[in-house]
């Protein structure tokens, strides 16, 4: 093993796959720049605690969709139905909780199950019958929008129980005095930075012990410090308002889980292998149909969750809910570096892509730019991001 350790030295670490991370870092850079621009042009309103909290509350449902969408896109498919599915589960939730007084937790579980069924329905046609995902989910988009209107009878059903609304408007309880800074937020910030710091250091040590060349320890120190500063100032800003929103907890757990699953687990390899070359994957013993099927089931569950969070925030279920969600989620993935032909893309990339869109939305609203212009500018950002990616690849080839 020692002999090998020496040989690997020439190589870079397994994580640094050339252009991939250049692109990812450049997007983080872009995120910071537009953040700074808005902070400056709004005279500091942008980073005010209330606004930062709002950005999280207003966008987490899109980020959740983006996670599921990223995996669908890596497989080489697309899902146009997620907005309609989100609206559909919102309507089901309304019927269960408002019209039939089903307990909140049971209703949430039922809605997620319905999401899974919807995903299974679409996944079946896509994976086993081989109908193109574009068509199946276009049909799904119409079907579930229609069913939403049927369920709601064309009305808006409003006023959910408070327990349900906690899903998107609640905050994690403060363990401190309740006045001034929110202690829970600070403690959690500390815990998260400690955890990430530990992972970074132990990963570094492990690489070193295997003889994989690593940057000098100073670079690691700088990275850990930067990470801690960002996490701590973020939790400090949240602590100045109401603390950590419940929905951020959900989102954080989902990001952590799916990031790990796609980068470190076998199932992640399945996704990238199928997206990269389906035939080669099949001939290597990967059950391509089953993986495709379950990816759509997963998307269905996440779409349902997204619908529940959105409905809880609106405190109403309407027929128009979830309109164009699918396009926001798809745009987030592509801005974050996913490839339309499959096989390429990262969960963290999709999250950063989603945040870029969120910040642009929010910043422009703060500046009083109308929705019309926001739409147009978001379109241009999407085009610019993907064009940048394409040109980058050309240069490398």
């Amino acid at each position: 093993m020692e002999a090998n350790a020496k040989k690997i030295q020439k190589s870079q670490g397994p994580q640094s796959g050339g252009l991939g991370w250049v692109k990812q870092y450049s997007m983080i850079f872009f995120l910071i720049i537009i953040g700074a621009v808005f902070q400056f042009s709004t005279n500091g309103i942008f980073l005010r605690p209330l606004n930062v909290t709002n950005i999280i509350l207003q966008n987490s449902h899109i980020l959740i969709l983006a996670i599921g969408m990223l995996m669908v896109i890596v497989l080489g498919h697309i899902d146009l139905s997620v907005g309609s599915v989100a609206a559909f589960t919102g309507a089901v939730a309304a019927l269960l909780m408002i019209n039939n007084n089903v307990p909140t937790v049971l209703a949430i579980v039922l809605c997620l199950l319905i999401g899974a069924l919807v995903g299974a329905w679409q996944g079946y046609w896509i994976a086993y019958v081989k109908v193109p995902a574009f068509i199946v989910t276009l049909a799904g988009m119409l079907v579930f929008r229609g069913l939403t209107i049927v369920l709601l009878g064309g009305r808006t059903i409003a006023s959910f129980p408070d327990t349900f609304r906690l899903l998107s408007s609640g905050f994690v309880a403060d363990i401190g005095s309740g006045s001034g800074l929110n202690v829970t937020a600070l403690v959690m910030g500390g815990v998260v930075s400690a955890l990430l710091g530990f992972l970074m250091v132990s990963g570094y040590a492990k690489k070193k012990s295997y003889g994989i060349s690593v940057p000098p320890a100073g670079v690691l120190g700088l990275k850990v410090t930067l990470m801690a500063i960002i996490v701590m100032s973020f939790s400090y800003i949240l602590a100045m308002h109401a603390g950590i929103p419940n929905v951020l907890l959900i989102l954080g757990a989902l990001i952590a889980f799916y990031h790990f699953a796609t980068t470190r687990m076998k199932v992640g390899r399945y996704l990238y292998a199928i997206g990269g070359n389906e035939k080669a994957a099949a001939l290597s013993g990967i059950k391509t149909k089953a993986v495709t099927f379950w990816t759509f089931v997963n998307m269905g569950v996440l779409a349902a969750l997204s619908g529940l969070i959105f409905t809880a925030r609106l405190n109403a279920s309407t027929a128009a809910a979830g309109d164009l969600f699918e396009l926001d989620a798809i745009a987030a993935c592509f801005i974050g570096g996913a490839s339309a032909s499959g096989g390429v893309g990262k969960v963290m990339g999709a999250i950063i892509g989603g945040l870029i869109m969120a910040i642009i939305n929010n910043g422009m609203s703060l500046l009083g730019i109308g929705v019309d212009w926001q739409q147009a500018i978001k379109g241009l950002v999407l085009l610019a991001a993907v064009a940048f990616d394409v040109m980058n690849k050309k240069k490398a080839a």
Binding site: P14, I212, N277, A281, L283, G285, V344
Partner: protein, 505 residues
């Protein structure tokens, strides 16, 4: 015949960091068949791209004289106007258009923008006759086999009033019959005064038809051989820069008991379900044995291997599979892998590799279960295994984290072989293991195959190159129209004997 139609003088072409061509000289006489030989990456294709204007004038140095006059092509259109037409290795036909539409693509027989289909069809018919195709001009390309598609490409070339026809690996994807047809056609063209340049790895074909052979190595012209000097050994010597008296490594087979046996194996076509593709096949491999399956394209060799490998091909499959006397059920690929089978596909890029992924991730792909714990990958063990194989197989790459798409064909094949060796199979089916690989790398692949057999594994080689089957295998099955028509031991096998079985004679 001594009139020089084309002369390339002192051609040098540099890419960032590499000199792909270094002062290359080439003289082609009018009406001859001139072959270009060299290992992969020697610069043959680059030279032809300079000639045809893919690399425009100014991007290379040196002179090109055509008909004794200097030419400076800025694009392929200009070279085509002079009658220089290149047919690339990867065919450039559009599958869902007809033969006629393809032949006149970009050169439509139109008046004022309106296509004259009658004229198009009549002209196509004439062209098809010339290349010996009996299909109607309306036939869609997708309904033709590779061999016929190649002929359509040639018909397209002669529709442009070609004077110098360049074929890049024209027979690489063809079976022996189609290859022979194609070479026949080139000889016919020669009579009509068309000059041809062939780039080919198949030296038996080169020696059979060439009037002259120019050998290129490392971007330099080594020598040009004429008629009587042209022998396979001489060309190989020029290509690799040393004598290669033996193209197949030495081996003392240590053959044991039967390890893998197939009895009465039948399968039908996956779409045309009444068409029997495999018919009553009895087949076995012994421990440490290298078995060959020889056959023409369409004989069912690949179909046989894939139907065994987790029913990856065919419908209504029936028959018995035994390993060490135990009956196996192989309904899925993962079952086949678990029972120690491996299948290395003939289509390396299409069915074997993830071109956008790293070497490491390609090698681990069929062994993810072994390299993970509770579903979590052990990435360090994974890169360690990849590193082991990089050394064992001598994969030429700066790092195992290189993308496979950046490797040469030979190194890509080594990655695929590594992938299957990591899955620790007992029986390996290698489908065209050296297709599109240069002579030096072939020798290395052969040595690896020998090593696998020496470890006591059973190896089955499927190959369209008879010399390869004869040179490598201890026992050879001949296949014809879905049946095994002969079984010959190495000592009794000759090209003639095999060819008789393979053609059902």
């Amino acid at each position: 015949m001594d009139k020089i139609i084309l002369e390339m003088k002192g051609i040098t072409k540099e890419f960032p960091g590499v000199k792909a061509l270094n002062n290359v000289n080439l003289k082609i006489r009018q009406g001859e068949i001139h072959s270009l030989c060299g290992e992969n990456g020697a610069g043959k294709s680059t030279l032809m791209k300079v000639l045809s204007g893919v690399y425009p004038y100014g991007k290379y140095s040196g002179d090109i004289l055509f008909d004794g006059k200097e030419v400076q092509f800025k694009n392929t259109k200009q070279s085509e106007e002079k009658g220089i037409v290149i047919i690339h290795q990867e065919l450039a036909l559009i599958p869902y258009l007809s033969i006629a539409e393809n032949i006149f693509l970009g050169n439509e027989q139109a008046k004022k923008g309106i296509v004259d289909w009658n004229e198009t069809f009549v002209k196509t018919q004439k062209l098809l006759q010339k290349v010996g195709l009996t299909e109607t001009p309306e036939t869609l390309i997708t309904n033709l086999g590779v061999g016929k598609q190649q002929l359509v490409e040639i018909a397209k070339a002669i529709s442009k009033e070609v004077r110098l026809l360049i074929l890049d690996e024209p027979t690489a994807a063809l079976n022996e019959d189609d290859s022979a047809n194609l070479l026949e056609l080139l000889l016919e063209f020669k009579k009509q005064g068309i000059t041809s340049i062939i780039i080919s790895h198949k030296l038996n074909e080169v020696t059979a038809v060439s009037d002259a052979v120019t050998v290129i190595r490392d971007g330099q012209t080594i020598e040009t051989l004429y008629k009587e000097e042209i022998t396979e050994d001489r060309i190989i010597k020029g290509m690799v820069g040393r004598d290669m008296s033996n193209r197949y490594p030495e081996r003392n087979p240590g053959i044991g008991d039967v390890i893998f046996e197939v009895k009465d194996w039948n399968a039908y076509h996956p779409i045309h379900k009444d068409r029997k593709v495999l018919d009553g096949i009895d087949f076995h491999i012994k421990k440490g044995e290298i078995v060959g399956i020889a056959g023409l394209m369409g004989a069912g060799r690949t179909e046989f291997a894939m139907s065994l490998f987790g029913k990856s091909f065919g419908s209504k499959i029936s028959g018995t599979v035994l390993k060490n006397g135990q009956e196996l059920t192989l309904n899925t690929v993962s079952e086949a892998i678990r029972h120690g089978l491996a299948y290395v596909s003939e289509d390396r890029k299409g069915n074997g590799l993830l071109l956008d992924e790293t070497i490491t991730r390609n090698i681990s792909l069929a062994s993810l279960g072994k390299l993970s714990k509770n579903g979590v990958m052990d990435e360090f063990r994974e890169s360690e295994e990849a590193e082991n194989f990089k050394q064992l197989m001598r994969i030429k790459t700066p790092s195992v984290f290189q993308h496979v798409g950046n490797l040469s064909g030979g190194n890509q094949q080594k990655v695929v072989l590594s992938k299957w060796m990591l899955s620790e199979p007992d029986i390996l089916f290698l489908d065209e293991p050296t297709r599109g690989i240069d002579v030096g790398a072939k020798y290395e692949i052969y040595s690896i195959i020998h090593e696998l057999a020496n470890q006591g594994k059973g190896v089955c080689i499927i190959s369209s190159e008879l010399p390869e089957v004869l040179g490598m295998c201890d026992r050879i099955y001949a296949m014809f129209e879905g049946k095994l028509t002969g079984e010959v031991l190495r000592k009794d096998a000759t090209q003639e004997v095999m060819m008789q079985y393979m053609t059902g004679a």
